[in-house]
């Protein structure tokens, strides 16, 4: 069953078209990242899915339900972390969860949920008005998790969190996904999206300009990874060997370093294997994955992309894929 399906979903505010004819499908159990620059319409789309706003045209079905007429049932089964969510500053963290548990007719243990999001028991007894921004975000996330939702809708979940908080968020998403929860979250930070999503949709100017897996998007973009080898001796012979390999576009020599441009992700491993078998000794190795930065910039017409592309690696070499990238930038 599809968790989210929209058909020509449109929202107009006056003469501003916030969301234009969105056709989106999110499968049950998926982790779907909704990407786009600020103002692209991500939050508006989320509002339309939850009946926080009414569409001007088109329709949305979430968990098979109509957001407006079935709103109570839908929200019972959904955990929501809205952007700019507010807390009751005079109520304690535990009281917030008490309200959530009662409203969702759940039987969660408040302290267990708070522990999941990384809030200390003594914080649970303090008023939410005293919370730091990160703690407030965690509490809001705890509220969203109450009632074991079938669907988690998170709008910019990592904003305001320190790197540890971002990692905890990522782990939570993994945990929920492992339980079969569909996770739909929006972000304008590519790194977060790359790390955990099954599929990614790119929204720009209210329109969906790309939907695919991370690898699919990379392949479509055509730019492959770059493997940089630092060698002991002159690399010219290795270079010509590598140039002939399948999936290798070019091998540039700079002193003792060799930059191998691969068009096929699988070629990276072959390049490294060949290099290690060759006469020259490999001193160091770096693999630069193409981040979604260029794709993002292209598709959204941005000349200044919102986040930096990533490097990773170390002595001995690391061949990595999107799934196990966990390094904080």
């Amino acid at each position: 069953m599809t968790a989210i399906r929209t058909e020509n979903l449109t929202k107009r505010y006056g003469d501003v078209l916030a969301v234009a004819g969105l056709d989106l499908v999110v499968e049950e159990g998926e982790v779907f990242g909704f990407l786009g620059p600020n103002g692209a319409g991500k939050s508006t789309t989320i509002e339309l899915l939850l009946d926080y706003a009414r569409p001007t045209d088109g329709e949305a079905r979430v968990l098979g339900l109509d957001p407006r007429s079935d709103s109570r049932e839908l929200l019972r089964r959904t955990g929501v972390l809205p952007e700019g969510v507010g807390l009751y500053e005079r109520l304690t963290g535990r009281e917030h969860l008490g309200i959530a548990i009662e409203a969702m007719e759940a039987d969660d243990d408040p302290d267990a949920v708070l522990e999941r999001v990384g809030l200390e028991p003594e914080d649970a007894g303090r008023r939410a008005g005293e919370y730091s921004r990160g703690m407030a975000k965690r509490l809001a996330l705890a509220v969203a998790l109450v009632g074991d939702p079938d669907l988690l809708v998170l709008d910019e979940p990592a904003s305001g969190l320190d790197p540890l908080g971002v990692r905890r968020m990522r782990e939570l998403v993994h945990e929920e996904a492992a339980r079969g929860t569909t996770v739909f979250f929006s972000s304008h930070v590519l790194d977060q999206v790359e790390a955990i999503c099954d599929r990614v949709g790119i929204l720009s100017g209210g329109r969906l300009v790309a939907v695919d897996t991370i690898d699919g998007l990379r392949e479509a973009e055509g730019t492959g990874a770059t493997v940089t080898l630092r060698l002991d001796g002159p690399p010219s012979r290795l270079a010509s060997e590598l140039r002939g390999m399948e999936g290798v576009a070019d091998a540039e020599i700079t002193g003792h370093a060799l930059c191998v441009h691969c068009t096929d992700p699988r070629a990276k491993a072959r390049v490294i294997a060949r290099a290690e078998r060759s006469a020259a000794t490999v001193r160091d190795l770096t693999v630069e994955e193409p981040s979604l930065e260029s794709l993002f910039a292209d598709r959204t017409g941005d000349t200044t992309p919102p986040s930096i592309g990533r490097r990773s690696g170390g002595a001995g070499g690391t061949d990595h894929t999107a799934a196990d990238v966990g390094a904080e930038s």
Binding site: A53, R54, R72, R76, G79, P82, G84, V85, Y88, M104
Partner: protein
């Protein structure tokens, strides 16, 4: 039912507001003080005098406290992002609005009842007896007054786009009903009859007067207590003989049903309910932002 969850949340949240706590304390203090003064210091202490004098702090504070309690009910939650949190927990918009209105009303009503309990206690201590009938009657009328103004404020809150606008509208309401109402009604009378209202006046003039929750409250209270509330009406265009003339002689013709005190009680309830319903209509239709 989720509106009870919302209402209880609202009671906990609103009752911890420093602003409301301060207003409550002021009301308490004034009620207590007036009670003691009437019984100990006044020349002619009596239940009549007590009820009459209590009218002053009540009319001054209860409407303002109720408006303040209510004007952020929706718009404040909307702008702060708390409404987004609450709606995500599955209450419908209707439940949110009604639960919020009930919760905030309960807090204000609770303060009013407690203040009257204080007056009763002070009376018992000061003179050994409690003027139950008067205090209960005045207390009930005051609760209705509080509900009316909380309703007005919540209705404003559901419709206003920013807290500033809601506050301006609430302040405007307060000024209209306390300062300008008599002027407006007298002006209308003059426009229709080309003369100021005299001792004897057509019933519609009074009906118009009593549309104001303040005057409706005075009408209800005066029917329930021995004496008469000290009025806070500032402009009285009627001739001074009015004060010596009983009401049914002031009305030209028979006193119609809508000038009976029970109708004023109904009017107070209408002020509590109608703005909330209007606000609900807008709130249910619109977007969150």
């Amino acid at each position: 039912m989720t509106w009870t969850v919302v209402a209880r949340k609202e009671v906990a949240y609103a009752s911890r507001s420093r602003m409301l706590q301060s207003l409550g304390a002021v009301l308490f203090g004034l009620i207590g003080l007036v009670t003691l003064v009437v019984w100990r210091v006044a020349e002619d202490p009596s239940a009549e005098a007590l009820a009459s004098e209590l009218g002053v702090p009540l009319l001054l504070i209860v409407p303002i406290a109720s408006l303040i309690a209510g004007y952020t009910a929706i718009v404040g939650e909307r702008r702060s992002g708390r409404l987004a949190l609450l709606l995500g927990l599955s209450p419908t918009r209707r439940e949110v609005l009604l639960g919020t209105f009930l919760g905030r009303s309960a807090v204000v009503a609770g303060v009013v009842v407690a203040a009257f309990a204080l007056a009763a206690a002070f009376s018992a201590v000061a003179v050994g007896s409690v003027p139950f009938a008067d205090l209960v009657g005045l207390g009930a009328a005051t609760v209705l007054l509080a509900l009316a103004f909380v309703g007005i404020a919540v209705g404003i809150s559901a419709v206003a786009s920013t807290r500033g606008r809601a506050m301006a509208a609430a302040v405007g309401c307060y000024l209209v009903f306390t300062l300008f109402w008599e002027v407006i009604v007298t002006g209308v009378y003059y426009a229709v009859n080309r003369q100021l209202p005299g001792v004897e006046v057509e019933p519609w003039f009074f009906a118009l007067e009593r549309l104001s929750p303040m005057l409706a409250y005075e009408t209800v209270s005066n029917a329930l207590i021995e004496g008469e509330l000290q009025s806070v009406v500032t402009v009285d265009a009627r001739p001074p003989e009015v004060h010596a003339t009983p009401f049914d002689e002031q009305v030209i013709g028979e006193v119609p049903f809508y000038l009976e005190p029970w109708f004023s009680a109904v009017l107070l309830l209408a002020w509590a309910v109608l703005p909330v319903l209007i606000g609900l209509h807008r709130f249910e239709r619109g977007d969150l932002r």
